[in-house]
């Protein structure tokens, strides 16, 4: 069975094995023992609350309890951009209008910004290919929202996620070719590697500072602004279902979109509910819906936060979890858990 849980000191080797599977395109999860060790230490300190909230980096792993193998990883950073500048392009609108000539031109404009400084960030999501079935992807991605819903005070008002931008078949980025290359005079992948080394802010020294009309860019670059990499489309959809939106911020290199949300408007905040673990008595059973939806269930402990997908349902504040499930969550009857339907309810409007 699979459980998503707070990472702990014993996970370093498993994390390294996982990182070795990641390949290119994910700058925050490289198979580098030193980097991973540092990050793990920060994550453990985060769950132990021994460092300030804005420095925290909550990492979660998905464990296959049958084998003890780590099947996936994901993380939430307490705040970005507080030690080195966090850059994005923000897309704005400028209108050029002359009544005399009856010309009205609405232009989209790129502003180099640090607007997202201080936001909490969802990042480092990776699911091992062997486990890409069933609800696993959803469990892993959405587990973070349940954590946020349980501990909203740990996060800033705004939560973001950077999505990998569009790339052509040959791995090149049309946006980079149309813009960044003129200022960096090096390959996209070289830039990407530098980013991986944490040098993103220094590269940004070379970016043009003044607002840019998107119309100046080649059509191929214009077309991919805010477009995700083909392989990232499912991840984007999952986040959008949870209430995150593309609000016009994109990556300065590949123009991949940043999804963002107010924490208070996340589906998990609005729809998750607490429940007490209780045996399945008749009355509860009777009131339960006929067809059940899979439910995300977590315990409510920061230090050893754990989540599963269950077929059990929260009925009027009670939930009947099997003893195996209780064990996965390190809970027992009478404990309080948090529940959230795994899938989005359709609005009745």
């Amino acid at each position: 069975m699979l459980v998503v849980r707070a990472i702990n000191e014993r996970d370093l080797n498993g994390l390294f094995e996982l990182a070795s599977q990641v390949g290119t395109g994910m700058t925050t999860l490289k198979p580098d023992m030193k980097m991973l060790g540092d990050r793990l230490a920060t994550a453990c300190a985060s769950f132990a609350e021994t460092i300030p909230p804005e420095e925290r980096d909550y990492m979660f792993v998905m464990e296959d309890t049958a084998t003890g193998r780590l099947a996936g990883v994901c993380a939430i950073k307490g705040a970005v951009g507080l030690t080195e500048p966090f850059y994005n392009y923000r897309i704005g609108t400028l209108v050029h209008s002359s009544r005399e000539l009856s010309v009205f031109t609405k232009m989209e404009t790129l502003y180099l910004s640090n607007d997202l400084t201080g936001s909490s960030e969802l990042c480092s999501l990776f699911l091992h290919p062997d486990y890409r079935t069933g609800h696993n992807g959803k469990l892993l991605s959405k587990s973070r929202f349940l954590f946020i819903a349980q501990f909203p005070h740990l996060f800033t008002e705004k939560i973001i996620a950077e999505m990998r931008g569009y790339q052509a078949e040959d791995g090149s980025s049309p946006f980079y070719e149309g813009l960044g290359r003129h200022f960096f005079k090096m390959d996209f992948h070289h830039v990407d590697d530098l980013t991986a080394l944490g040098k993103k802010s220094f590269i940004a020294e070379l970016m043009p500072r003044q607002p840019l009309y998107i119309a100046y860019l080649p059509q191929a670059a214009q077309d991919v602004v805010g477009q995700v990499h083909k392989s990232t489309a499912p991840a984007r959809r999952l986040l959008e279902q949870e209430g995150m939106h593309y609000e016009g911020y994109v990556d300065i290199f590949d123009a991949g979109p940043v999804l963002q949300a107010r924490v208070s408007e996340l589906r998990a905040i609005r729809q998750s509910e607490l429940a007490v673990i209780a045996p399945d008595e008749d009355i509860v059973h009777a009131c339960a819906p006929a067809t059940t939806e899979p439910t995300l269930v977590s315990n409510t402990t920061l230090k050893d936060f754990r989540m599963i997908v269950s077929e059990a349902v929260n009925v009027n504040g009670s939930i009947d979890l099997s003893s195996a499930e209780q064990q996965l969550l390190r809970c027992r009857t009478g404990d309080t858990v948090r529940t959230l339907p795994l899938n989005v309810r359709k609005n009745n409007a």
Binding site: L94, H96, S97, S98, E100, L101, V103, T105, M107, T109, G178, L179, H182, F183, F184, K185, L194, K199, F202, I203, E205, L206, P208, R209, Q210, P211, L212, Y213, A215, Y216, L217
Partner: protein, 348 residues
């Protein structure tokens, strides 16, 4: 023999025939009779005006060819104008060619990027314009005289002009009148063809609609298409003579370009211009300077008087260090000076 003088009403028919031969698409001379008349009237009024502060005056000069044997046979073979204060009634807009240094210490990268910034810095400069010289005189010193006479006049009448001068030269367009620079930039905001835009704006660079429509933020040159970059600061072939004369005078290109066609705008402080920093004031003595032996140099000579500006060319020995210049009675007549009067001389 040639003389440069202020335009007169009688020149209007001649100007009209000149306008008919100038190239299409290049804004040098007004075309229609009405506009020519307006320009001549404005010039007459400007020369006649008492000026304390340069404003909307516009001075138009003509180059006249005179046949020594038949003094009545006169022909206008060139024009040149100067506006006292560019963008009067508003702002003269141009693109300033900025250089931005891009430095990254970590990556050990340092290079420069050009950017075009809409600016109004040329406002209130004096603006040279409408230069046209007949093909017959384009290779001779007369073309240089014509171009420079405006500055000789400005040298004598500093209160009528600014301390700085500029000259916009027509940029590159193709046979169809398309401008690669316009297509990359102005078209995106104006949503119309280059010639249409020039028509609606009347060739002006001081209209509110420029503020309304043109980009307010610098345009990074590397983002422009290659053909637009290639014509930035490049002159239309028809402007080559003017360009050469002006750079020889001390004007500098590169700093500003036109907001529509990307043509060069040459500019200079008057101190940097040869007419201002290398001219001499000499006394006139009667003599045939052309009869002497030895190397002869070409000079532009103008009167200094208020009896009507006149300027001629003179080939004579080096005037460096001399106190007087020898002029034949005919040339003295042309310049409206007499022995003992002072004239301004500058090498062409």
């Amino acid at each position: 023999m040639y003389v440069v003088r202020p335009v007169e009403t009688a020149d209007i028919p001649a100007l009209e025939s000149l306008a008919a031969v100038t190239m299409p698409g290049v804004h040098t001379l007004p075309r229609s009779r009405d506009k020519i008349e307006l320009a001549v009237e404005r010039s007459l009024a400007s020369f006649a005006a008492q000026v304390d502060i340069p404003s909307e005056e516009s001075y138009l000069f003509v180059l006249e060819s005179l046949t020594e044997r038949h003094p009545a046979e006169r022909r206008i073979c060139g024009t040149a104008a100067i506006f006292a204060s560019a963008g009067s009634n508003g702002t003269y807009f141009s693109f300033r060619n900025d250089v931005i240094q891009q430095v990254s210490r970590d990556l050990n990268i340092c290079h420069s990027v050009h950017a075009l910034t809409l600016c109004s810095e040329l406002t209130a400069y004096s603006q040279l314009s409408s230069f046209y010289a007949d093909p017959a005189v384009q290779d001779g010193p007369e073309a240089a005289l014509l171009s420079r006479s405006r500055l000789l006049y400005a040298l004598q009448q500093p209160q009528r002009f600014g301390d700085r001068f500029f000259v916009p030269l027509a940029g590159v367009t193709d046979e169809a009148g398309e401008s690669p620079f316009w297509n990359a930039l102005g078209r995106k905001f104006f949503k119309m063809d280059f010639l249409d835009a020039e028509r609606v704006i009347g060739g002006a660079r001081n209209r509110t609609l420029i503020v309304e429509l043109m980009p307010h933020y610098p345009v990074y040159v590397p983002l422009l298409p290659g053909d637009a970059q290639a014509v930035m600061g490049q002159i239309h072939p028809s402007g080559e003579l003017a360009f050469n004369l002006l750079t020889a005078e001390g004007f500098e290109a590169d700093e500003y370009i036109d907001i529509f066609d990307g043509g060069p705008i040459l500019q200079a402080h008057k101190h940097a211009l040869r007419t201002f920093n290398s001219s001499q004031t000499l006394r006139v003595r009667t003599g045939a300077s052309t009869s002497r032996e030895g190397q002869r140099l070409n000079y532009a000579i103008s009167n200094n008087g208020s009896a009507g500006f006149r300027a001629i060319t003179l080939a004579c020995p080096d005037l460096d260090g001399v106190e007087a210049v020898a002029l034949t009675p005919e040339l003295q007549d042309l310049l409206r000076v007499a022995e003992g009067d002072s004239v301004t001389c500058v090498r062409i």
